[in-house]
């Protein structure tokens, strides 16, 4: 099957994913061989940055989602009734 762009091919996307996961693993492994000069105690935990980055992002997405439940409105909210004019 001919694809318009090599990125349209699911096989290539799968390869990209594998590459991504390999790089993820590499950054964590590299942390093992490098002196990371931890300043705060928590920074010295193995793989701290990886776990911290992942978890805080999950929390931010969920937090945003929760706030969205309260504050989301259709994007016609201000336009509909011509309040702006």
């Amino acid at each position: 099957m001919k694809y318009e762009h090599w990125l349209d091919n699911p096989l290539n996307v799968k390869k990209l994913w594998r590459g991504f996961i390999a790089v993820l693993a590499l950054t964590v492994i590299a942390g093992f061989f490098t002196d990371l000069h931890p300043h705060f105690e928590i920074e010295g935990w193995y793989g701290f940055y990886a776990v911290y980055g992942f978890i805080t992002c999950l929390l931010m997405i969920l937090g945003a989602k929760a706030l969205g439940l309260l504050l989301k409105r259709p994007d016609t909210q201000y336009a509909e009734d011509g309040r702006d004019d």
Partner: protein, 563 residues
């Protein structure tokens, strides 16, 4: 002095802006590119110090005061005017570039002002210039947004003016130097500065107004107002601790609102608040490293944010669409825009080898050096969050995700070169930060590229990327907006005013009726007693008068005996 006036970089841009509408065709295009470069050259020929001082009333003003900090900001403002002008060359509105140059010139004027009165004058000119940029979009939405925008900024200007007047009354000194937030006047000045920085609760004006400008207008708007605010905070309130927490609030406000947003340029507008939050936090930390970091970050941020908005502008100009839910798959036909937008996205996320890496990390380093663990934890989470809300979200939803079927071509040459120039600067500063470090206000004792720093930053960012794709279902775009503080002055305020207005007019009608009735009654009574033959106007017999006099005299006698 005359030569100083002529060579004031701000005046070069402002006078150039006034002359631009007279030119046509190639001459106009040359002038658009030459004016910011002239201003830049004039700026770098200026010696440090105060080459131009004026006595006005009792004050000694210094409309031109140059030191490293002001030169740094004036430089990036002039560069931005050049890049924006190049990108906007094909803009059909003939008002936009002159308005943008007035705006840029005024921003340079603030950066080079040695006294508070000059700061205020250029501050207001900036509000005028930016409003004109908004107007030049020429849409009803832009018009409505510009009215809210100018309202907020004029109110901010009044607050700033009150503060400056109070400061001058207290100290008798107009010089613009570092202050403490220790008096009402100084708090007012701080509040006036912070409103322009997009600090809470007045953050909403920014994502409300900027995305309504034209495809090129938003590029200009993103640069000057907030970064001028960063500049005046750097000079006026370094080390004011409250700024740390204001900055952290702005950082997370920007992330959360950008995550919920659907409009591609509004995502980037929220991320301006987020990025300015990093700078404000740095100013609050207040060490030399932190202030250097805030200044450097303002410099790099102007470039990559302009680049991001240029790529968004190219998409808008080509497709006429601005909502993520209607875009996607544009990498097929807009490869250059995709690459430039992605470079901007990597730079804003502070990936190694981009400009954000060498500037933002100085602020983080300052938090570490100051043993501010809480602040550091917030900043680290925020760095991951930047990648989440701008670094991946913007390019992913605009250029990749589902295929929208749109196949617009890359934009015309002037827009392409604008993007290429800024993409080059993003990478160039990331690879070779020394020229920028040399321009910073304090000596830089910082090495960004250590193995530890690169590895930890990559861990943080890449795992944040993993979180993005794992949670992609939660991030699906919906055609929604998110309510913000501006709801108060867009909906609640007017509704309250209408209702109160209704009540007031009712009350007035009631009072009117009462008053009229009372007046009628009074005239009737007056009429009754004073008409001919009325009680008070009729003629009285003399005998009656004598009788009453006798009664009075008797009463007098009685009281005399009793007393």
């Amino acid at each position: 002095m005359t030569s100083a006036i002529l060579l004031h970089p701000a005046l070069i841009l402002i006078i150039g802006a006034l002359l631009l509408p007279l030119l046509r065709g190639a001459a106009r295009n040359v002038a658009v590119l030459a004016i910011p470069l002239l201003a830049l050259a004039a700026l770098w020929l200026l010696p440090e110090g105060r080459p131009w001082q004026v006595q006005w009333l009792d004050y000694s003003l210094a409309p031109l005061a140059v030191d490293k900090l002001s030169r740094l900001f004036a430089t990036i403002f002039a560069l931005m005017a050049f890049g924006g002008g190049l990108f906007a060359l094909r803009q059909e509105s003939r008002l936009e570039i002159p308005a943008a140059y007035l705006y840029a010139g005024s921003a340079i004027g603030v950066a080079l002002a040695g006294d508070l009165i000059t700061v205020f004058l250029f501050w207001e000119f900036m509000a005028v210039g930016s409003t004109l940029v908004l107007w030049s979009a020429g849409t009803p939405l832009a018009w409505a947004a510009s009215r809210r925008y100018v309202g907020v900024h004029l109110a901010g200007g009044v607050i700033l003016f009150a503060g400056i007047a109070g400061h001058i009354a207290q100290t008798g000194d107009v010089a613009f130097t570092a202050m403490q937030a220790d008096s009402i006047a100084h708090w007012l000045i701080l509040a006036g500065f912070l409103i322009n920085a997009g600090a809470p609760p007045f953050s909403a004006w920014l994502p409300d107004a900027y995305p309504e400008a034209s495809w090129s207008g938003t590029v200009f708007l993103s640069a000057f107002t907030t970064k001028t605010a960063v500049y005046v905070l750097l000079r006026g309130f370094p080390g004011a601790e409250i700024l740390i927490w204001i900055g952290i609030f702005m950082i997370f406000y920007g992330i959360v609102y950008a995550l919920l947003e659907n409009d591609m340029r509004r995502i980037l507008a929220y991320s301006i608040v987020n990025q300015v939050g990093f700078m404000v936090t740095g100013i609050g930390i207040g060490t030399e490293m932190a202030l250097n970091g805030a200044a450097a970050h303002a410099f790099t941020h102007i470039i990559y944010k302009a680049l991001l908005l240029m790529s968004a502008g190219a998409v808008l100009a080509a497709t006429g669409r601005r909502k993520c839910s209607e875009l996607g798959g544009l990498f097929h036909s807009m490869p250059l825009t995709t690459i430039c937008g992605t470079i901007g996205a990597l730079a804003i996320s502070s990936f190694p080898l981009t400009s954000g890496f060498i500037s933002k990390s100085m602020v983080t380093q300052a938090a570490i050096d100051g043993h501010l663990q809480m602040v550091w934890l917030f900043l680290a989470a925020a760095s991951a969050g930047v990648f989440l809300h701008a670094g991946i979200k913007f390019p992913w939803f605009v250029f990749f995700q589902k295929d929208s079927g749109l196949r617009p071509a890359d934009p015309p040459a002037s827009m392409r070169w604008g993007m290429i120039l800024f993409a080059f600067l993003c990478i160039g500063l990331g690879v070779w930060p020394d020229p920028l470090y040399a321009m910073l206000p304090y000596a830089v004792n910082y090495v960004p590229y250590t193995a530890a720093h690169v590895i930890t930053q990559l861990q943080l960012l890449l795992f944040s990327g993993l979180a993005f794709f794992v949670m992609l279902d939660y991030l699906k775009r919906t055609p929604t907006i998110t309510l913000d503080f501006d709801w108060l002055y867009r909906v609640a305020g007017p509704a309250l005013a209408r209702r109160l207005g209704g009540r007031l007019s009712q009350a007035r009608a009631g009072l009117d009726g009462l008053a009229r009735e009372g007046a009628n009654r009074m005239t009737a009574q007056i009429h009754q007693h004073r008409r001919p033959d009325g009680l008070l106007s009729r003629s009285w017999p003399t005998g009656g008068m004598a009788l009453w006099v006798m009664v009075l005299l008797l009463a007098n006698l009685v009281f005399y005996y009793l007393g």
